[in-house]
């Protein structure tokens, strides 16, 4: 459905102007490095919850995972279960309160700073910062791709132009305004996302004949599953994949567990707990956070699956066959473009811009402060510097844009899952232990971080076939795309690396108890 480019451009300009104005408001309140890094530790609950939710949910969740749901079906709803259960309830109530309390007591201003100060270890700070700087650009690039793909489709812009415009606009208010500007704009964007996703759900069911009719039609499409996917365990879009099949392992271990658990130890989310004024703020934020995530991922995964009904009724093809090159990252943008009223295309474009910008801004901020504060400031033993952080953010933006230009198609959801898997493997056991131990052991934390990161990398490079075959290290050294066969080569690296990281923590702790330090 054609959208008037002039209207689209006008609305986009208004949206960006409002975003910049809100960002400027944040900039005006940024007086000290602590304001720039942790929003002055005085954020109110609604802004905190919307910022956390909008950072959590990106174009990756909506475009990437929505596309995966169009491909694999409604089984992805289990990721929503984890998104709310782990990503909100456990994250805020188990980790959030402790993170805020300890972060404030130690004066920590970034996630690596928290790890370093909690364990009294420079290594923990540097290693955490290094992991952020190497792993986070992958996730950032995936989000850039998601936003640029929609701009490419809706505004008929060349892909590279869309990507560059997108990165530049977000960069401006992050670099200048710091975390207060990021969180204020996040909250605005979160509210917009809530409106957009609610309307998307309503219009999708209207376009496919209502809730029960749409689900029934989707169920009856099971014989249309392509033979290749059926052979890998796809049983239809309203049922789980066959237990133990290739697709079951992908959906359950990579998409559901990898991302669902991975969210618990993400630096850009953990730092938000340190912006809360008090623990009451976190209690209140939970009220907004749970329903917000339901309306984001629950809607995206449902709409993704149901889009097959629309595509089949209007093009005679299932979703993945109806888009160029079978690129699942194009399914949601194409569905919106074909099935929704023109004015909603504009609303949804803003929803996606908001989703992408809110997450991008937070990732840029987390990566930039990892360089500007955790590495640079400590190596040079200088006071926290706004200029160093700003330079750090600019450097990491350039790295992310370059990576986004280099990554292949259908990468959004997978790159997101990789980053979250790496975070959980490397950080989660040490982070959880650090928040609850009375006198945490630095040696145990180091062992856990190193074991988790190393196991995740080795499994990714040499066993998990989807990545190892692309990375080429296994082929170069051993002349095979993956060292182990089925089912190992489809089990997500997180499933192996997280228990190993936990085991390393426990082993070192037990050894220290047997041989007390002198």
């Amino acid at each position: 459905m054609a959208v008037d480019t002039l209207i689209l451009a006008a609305v986009t300009v208004i949206y960006l102007a409002v975003t910049m104005a809100v960002g400027y408001l944040g900039y005006r309140q940024t007086k000290h490095a602590e304001d720039y890094m942790v929003a002055g530790r005085r954020m109110n609950p609604v802004i905190l919850a919307l910022s956390y939710g909008a950072t959590f949910i990106s174009t990756s969740a909506i475009v990437g995972f929505g596309g995966m749901a169009a491909n694999y079906g409604m089984g992805l709803i289990w990721l929503t279960v984890f998104n709310i259960g782990a990503g909100i309830l456990i994250a805020f109530l188990v980790f959030g309160k402790k993170t805020r309390e300890i972060g404030k007591r130690l004066g920590a201003v970034t996630f690596p700073d928290l790890m370093g100060k909690r364990f009294g270890s420079g290594f923990m700070q540097y290693a955490s910062a290094a992991l952020i700087m190497t792993g986070m650009p992958l996730y950032t690039a995936a989000i850039l791709i998601g936003g640029a793909r929609f701009l490419e489709t809706a505004l008929a812009l060349p892909y590279v132009t869309a990507l560059l415009i997108f990165a530049l606009i977000t960069a401006v208010y992050v670099v200048i305004g710091g975390l207060i500007a990021v969180m204020y704009t996040d909250a605005l964007q979160g509210a917009l996302m809530l409106v957009g996703m609610t309307l998307l759900l309503v219009f999708t069911y209207m376009a496919t004949g209502g809730v029960v009719h749409a689900h029934q039609a989707l169920t009856e499409m099971a014989p249309l599953v392509p033979p290749v996917l059926a052979g890998l365990g796809h049983t239809g879009w309203t049922s789980m994949p066959a237990l133990g099949s290739v697709i079951w392992y992908t959906v359950v271990t990579t998409l559901v567990l990898g991302v669902g658990i991975g969210v618990l130890a993400q630096p850009q989310l953990a730092v938000r707990f340190m912006t809360a004024k008090d623990s009451r703020t976190l209690n209140r934020a939970v009220l907004v956070g749970g329903p917000f995530i339901l309306m984001m991922t629950g809607v995206a995964f449902t709409v993704g699956a149901v889009s097959n009904v629309y595509f089949y009724e209007h093009t005679g093809k299932i979703a993945s066959a109806a888009v160029a090159g079978g690129n699942v990252d194009l399914i949601i943008p194409t569905f919106i473009d074909l099935a929704m009223p023109p004015w909603f295309v504009v609303v949804f474009m803003l929803t996606l811009l908001a989703a992408a910008m809110s997450t991008l801004a937070s990732l840029f901020h987390a990566m930039g402060t990892a360089i500007g504060y955790d590495i640079w400031k400590h190596l040079k033993e200088q006071k926290p510097s706004l200029a160093a952080n700003r330079v750090g953010i600019v450097v990491m933006i350039l790295v992310s844009v370059a990576l986004a230009l280099a990554l292949p198609g259908s990468i959004i959801a997978r790159a997101t899952a990789m980053f979250m898997g790496l975070c959980a493997s490397a950080f989660l056991p040490a982070f959880a232990y650090g928040m609850y131990a009375k006198e945490p052991s630095a040696a145990a934390a180091k062992a856990s971080l190193l074991a988790g990161a190393a196991a995740w990398f080795l499994w990714t490079a040499f066993v998990h076939k989807t990545e190892s075959s692309v990375m080429g290290l296994s082929h170069l050294l051993f002349r095979t795309p993956a060292l182990l066969g089925f089912p190992w080569n489809v089990i997500d690296p997180l499933i192996i690396a997280l228990p190993l990281a936990l085991a390393a923590l426990v082993v070192v702790l037990r050894r220290e108890r047997r041989v007390p330090a002198a």
Partner: protein, 37 residues
């Protein structure tokens, strides 16, 4: 139920809604609880 034959999918939807509701209830019940500044 609702055109979805697989109970595993229905349980997933029920848990998603249940957790979202639990979040809302927790926030309301504990609105003024916890350490304030």
């Amino acid at each position: 139920m609702l055109g979805i034959p697989d109970p595993q999918i229905l349980i997933g939807y029920a848990l998603s809604l249940g957790f979202a509701l639990a979040s809302a209830v927790y926030g309301l019940v504990n609105w003024n609880k916890g350490e304030g500044e």
